[in-house]
Each structure stands twice: as C-alpha cells, then as structure tokens.
Symmetry: C2
Subunit: 338 residues, 2 copies
DNA sequence: TTGTAAGCGTTATCAC
DNA sequence: GTGATAACGCTTACAA
C-alpha cells in the first residue's frame, strides 16, 4: 500500500516545506544537516516512494533504458538481454525491450514508442541501414549504442559494441588451414540482411594470404535455405568441392551438418564445419561443434555500461567496444581426407 | 524533432481552448464535430505526440505491461517474451522485462520498481511462494497473471497461464510404459524452487495405476548438480536401477545423457530419457531427444491477452488458461533391454 | 538555511 | 459545445 505517500505528506507531517523535502530526498545541498536526517527518517518511516511519472514529467528523465533487437527467437539475444538487464538493474535502471522482427516499419514504431516514453538511452541492433537510428539520436539527444552493427560511419554520434568479427574469421580460417584444408567455403547472408560483408571480406583477404580457394555460399538466414544452398555446393567432385565450411552462426552450422548428410558425406571425415556464437547446445550436437565463442552477456553488459556512463556524465574513453572471441575446438573439424 | 508539440500549441494555433483539444484528441464527447476534425488535422500536421509522462501522472495509466521471469538464460522464456511482446505491441502496449534470477530479494525489488513505474499489468513467473505477488496485486489493484505457477489458491484475485503439466506427465509416462519400462525415475527440483510438486504427484499416482516403480531424483536445477544426482541413481545393479528418466526440462534431460555416459551407459539402449519443453536444439542432440512440446509463444500471448482484456474492461470468461502439450517422440527412448 | 511559487503536459471539473 | 482552472507529484528558481 506504498502508493499515496507524497513529499507533501512528509513535509506537512514535519511542518516543513515541500522543497526542503525534495532537496533532502534528492541529496542536494540547500538543507540543514539535522533537518535532512529528520526528513529522511520520516520518509523511510512513512514508506515514501517517489512518483516516477511526476519526476519524468519534470526532469524528462525516466531511468529506463531501451533495448531494441532484431529477433527475440535467437538465444544469442537472450544472453545479451540478460547482461544488459543485470547491469541496468545494479545501476537503478529498468529496461524496456522490443523486437523489430527484421521489419523496418516495426523498428520505426518501436523507436517512436521509445522516444515518446522518453527513455534515457538506447541499445539497438539495427536492421539494414542505421539512418533511422541516427535520426532518433538527433531528435532525442539520448545516447545510443549500436549492437553488432557493421556500420562504422557515425562514430561521432553513437557508440557501439560488437564482437571481433575479424578475429573470428581469422581463428576459424587458421584452424582449418592448419588442419590442411585448402578449399574453404563461407556461408554468408545476403548483404542487406546482416553484418556479413565484413566477414566475407576478411575471408577473401585470407584466401590470398594463406593460399586457399575461397567459395561464398550465399543464402537466406533460415536453416532450410542454408541446407539446400550448402548441399548444392557439396555436389561437386571430391577434388573440387570445399572440404570445410565456415558458418555465420551455430544454426547455420547445423544446417551444414544436415546438408552433408543429404549428400551422403560425414562430418568431420568428409567435411569440416565451424560455427559461430557457441550456443548452449552446440557442444551437444553430433558431432560436437567446433565454433567461435563470444561472450554474449558481455555485449549486453558493455552496452549498458556505455549508456549508463554517458548518462552519468562520464563518457567512455573509447565509445567503440570490441568484445573478444575465441575458438572452441570440438569434433566437427578434422584433417581433410582428400 | 517530434518533441515539443503540446496540446497548448495546437490550441493556440487554432485559437481554441486546451480542453477542447484534449477532448478531441482522446476521442471523448464534448466537442463539436467540425472542431474535432480541425483539431485532429492540425495535430497530425504539427506532428503532435502526447507526452506519456504527463498522461501517466494524471491518469496513473502507462500503457506498459511488466513481464517478470525467473531466468533470462533459458530459451524457454525467450519465446514467452516474444509472444508477450508481439501481443502487447499489436495492442499498443510496451513491455518492461525483468529477471528475478531465482532470487526472492531481487523479485521483491523488481515488483517494487514495477509498482513505482505504475505499470498497468503484470505477468510473472514467481519463485517460491506467491505471497509477494498477491501483495503486489492487493497494493496496486492491477491485473496479474501467473505464469506456470503451481499455486492454484488465489484464483479470485489473479489469473494464470500454464502448460498442461498433468498431461505432460501422462504422455511421458504412458510412452515409457508402453515401451515396456517398469522402473521410472523423475528428476525433480526441490519443492521450494519450482512447480514440480504437481508433476511428481501425478507421477506417483500413475505409478500405482500403471504399476511401475517410481523413483524421485531430487536435485538443484543446475545441469551439474543434476548430472551428479542422476549418476548416483544410476549406480545400482541393472535389475534395480531405473531404466527411464523423465526430466523436468530439456537441459536436465541432457544432464541425464551425461550422467549415463559417466556410468558407461548408453541412451537409449541402457536408459531412456524424456525431456520437457522441446528447445530449438533438442532435436539435434545425440541422440535426438524425445520430449514434451509446449507452445511457448502461446503462453506469452495468452498472458498478454488476459491482461489486455482485463484492462479494457472485458475480463476473460476463464481466468485460468491451460496451454496444450504434446509428445515428440525422437530417439532417446526405446524398449528397455533388461 | 528555509519557504514560496511557478511550472512540466495532461485530464477533469466546473462554469458559461 | 466550449473555455477557464484546478489538480497530478515533483523540481527549481527565487524570496525571505
């Protein structure tokens, strides 16, 4: 029944002014030491809780941070949310989530809703171009951090957190090349759907440096589509087809498993597979998946920290955080047999 | 730059009163038809967006629904959030999430925060006793729906959505008994941590009805703890140890896999395993997991629908929703060999 | 140091 | 039907 106790109640019960109460409660100067303590005591005694709407109306601060992601069905984001949520909680912020579901219109709606609700800051994994996001930032003047966004153009206005894609590709490729593979394929999404171009670019560079044949298997993000596309790539003669696949997610890696089976090939004997993101169950696949580990919670944590720091007036030295990745070798990779 | 246009601006730009604008905008009676249209037109033209904080302060309504879950690391809740989020979005509600992390203090904090923020309704998967929740409901007078909560005591005050636990147990047990198993074990959490008592109870009843030996393996929810506890239960001689395990989640089912391996036993040859919840990757485990499927998104959707309906003044005919479950037979169950 | 009072943008109660 | 005007609970100049 905490609802209902206002600063006015405290003030009148103590015979002092409302402003004294306000000052005391918000810990600012301008009120005597003993009076402050009296007020604090009475507030606690009465079970006073500030009315957030009133504070928000006055200060235009809500102590709410928004988290706008692309897809609520991917466990990847779960951990991101978890890390974000925990960091926010320990700093007294609450979080509002939304999923754009890869729909630009919905992204726009959510952005508007967040603006209307006057959230204090936003972390967003934008879909496609980040124009809308830039606009949001311009119009709200609130700090924004981009999550795993390929775009690096607007470093002045927004911050970012992303995993180290470049190293991810390096680790995967080096592992495969070290094993003796010379014909590698990378499964990538259409350029407009993901931050993959950067990955492919790096893959291509390495192909020249390390002297292996690089194939791009372009496919939609769905497991079914990937399965078909990869099976296609696997149809060639043993001497020409890729002996190893670098997937852009563990889901896709699993689709590669299925595609291999479709073609009567075994993993890792006939084809090696490397995933990306190390989902909780990837170690339990058959065979256990070699993949790139990313600290997903850290992504959420860092994003929240960036926002909270900025809001507290201590902007980070480096507004662009790169989260480390590591190679987790399991059993889906082996020496090539041909 | 939508920020800044207020009703006052519309009013003065039209030379009418603020109250006319307010009435027109909120679609209530008390303003002439042509004036209303004029106002609406001007509002659109100016890009007017109501100030949510002001509305909340006045009306104590926020158009925000809270979702408080136990654990943000379990994909189960991802789908629940997704369904909840989508339903809320299409009804103009935003959602605020929080995770209690199985910590009663944190649950209390979040409940307080939600109360302070004056959310319009709450969906919660409570930990342990739901006393706090009942209290929240009493103090806020806001609709509450319990998610997968075992408690059925306070049907008058709160609503609920849960999967059909009873049928889940029936399906699992019947499948196992039909295969020929006569010594079944159920992995359950300590009574204060989950809605498991109901499951165990049913298991026990069936044990008498269908004439099989029922063992309870009580363990903490973590995979490691379960692995040890199950391995313990598996130590007995082949003629006495359980030949099949019913787990309360797919995670735990996987822990049973590991425990079996620890004991040099094979799944499903030596021990059959049934999970619960059918996580996205359960079909890819080795062997693919037989489990109980639940429409997790539906849980979130129904919860949101219950809340939204109640808030709109149309309370549901049945405040207690039971979401159907089904058995998904894969390869972790087989006839017992002993 | 303390108190008074003017808003923040709405909604709601009145007169007219 | 329409327009002043008083809240809602708080912050913040400005006076005392």
């Amino acid at each position: 029944m905490a609802a209902g106790i206002t600063q006015r109640d405290i003030a009148s019960s103590l015979g002092v002014s409302i402003s004294a109460v306000s000052l005391a409660l918000s810990g600012r100067a301008g009120v005597g030491e003993q009076l402050r303590e009296q007020i604090l005591a009475r507030a606690a005694e009465l079970g006073y809780r500030p009315n957030v709407s009133a504070v928000a109306l006055r200060t235009r601060r809500t102590k709410v941070l928004g988290l706008l992601i692309r897809n609520l069905r991917n466990p990847h984001f779960l951990d991101v949310i978890d890390g974000f949520d925990e960091t926010c909680a320990s700093a007294g912020y609450d979080v509002m989530v939304g999923s754009s579901r890869y729909d630009p219109d919905r992204e726009r709606e959510l952005l508007d809703a967040f603006e209307d609700r006057a959230i204090d800051g936003l972390a967003i994994a934008p879909i496609g171009a980040s124009r809308q996001v830039r606009q949001w930032h311009a119009s709200t003047k609130r700090p924004v951090v981009l999550l795993n966004s390929a775009e690096g153009g607007d470093r002045q206005t927004t911050m970012s957190v992303r995993s180290d894609q470049r190293t991810a590709v390096d680790l995967a490729v080096r592992h495969l090349v070290d094993l003796g593979h010379r014909r590698l394929a990378m499964v990538i999404a259409p350029p407009d759907k993901s931050p993959d171009p950067e990955r492919w670019q790096r893959f291509h560079v390495l192909s020249a440096q390390l002297d292996f044949a690089a194939t791009a298997v372009t496919t939609e993000l769905s497991a079914d589509a990937a399965r078909v596309a990869v099976a296609d790539a696997l149809r060639g003669a043993p001497e020409v087809r890729p002996t190893a696949f670098v997937a852009n997610s563990d889901y896709i890696a699993h689709a590669v498993y299925l595609a291999a089976a479709d073609c009567g090939l075994r993993v890792p004997d006939d084809v090696s597979v490397i995933g990306h993101d190390d989902l909780p169950t990837s170690a339990s696949l058959s065979p256990p998946l070699t993949t790139i580990g990313v600290n997903r919670r850290e992504i959420g944590e860092r994003a929240a920290t960036l926002l909270i720091g900025t809001l507290a007036g201590r902007p980070p030295e480096d507004p662009d955080v790169i989260v480390a990745v590591d190679l987790r070798v399991r059993s889906s990779t082996a020496r090539p047999t041909v």
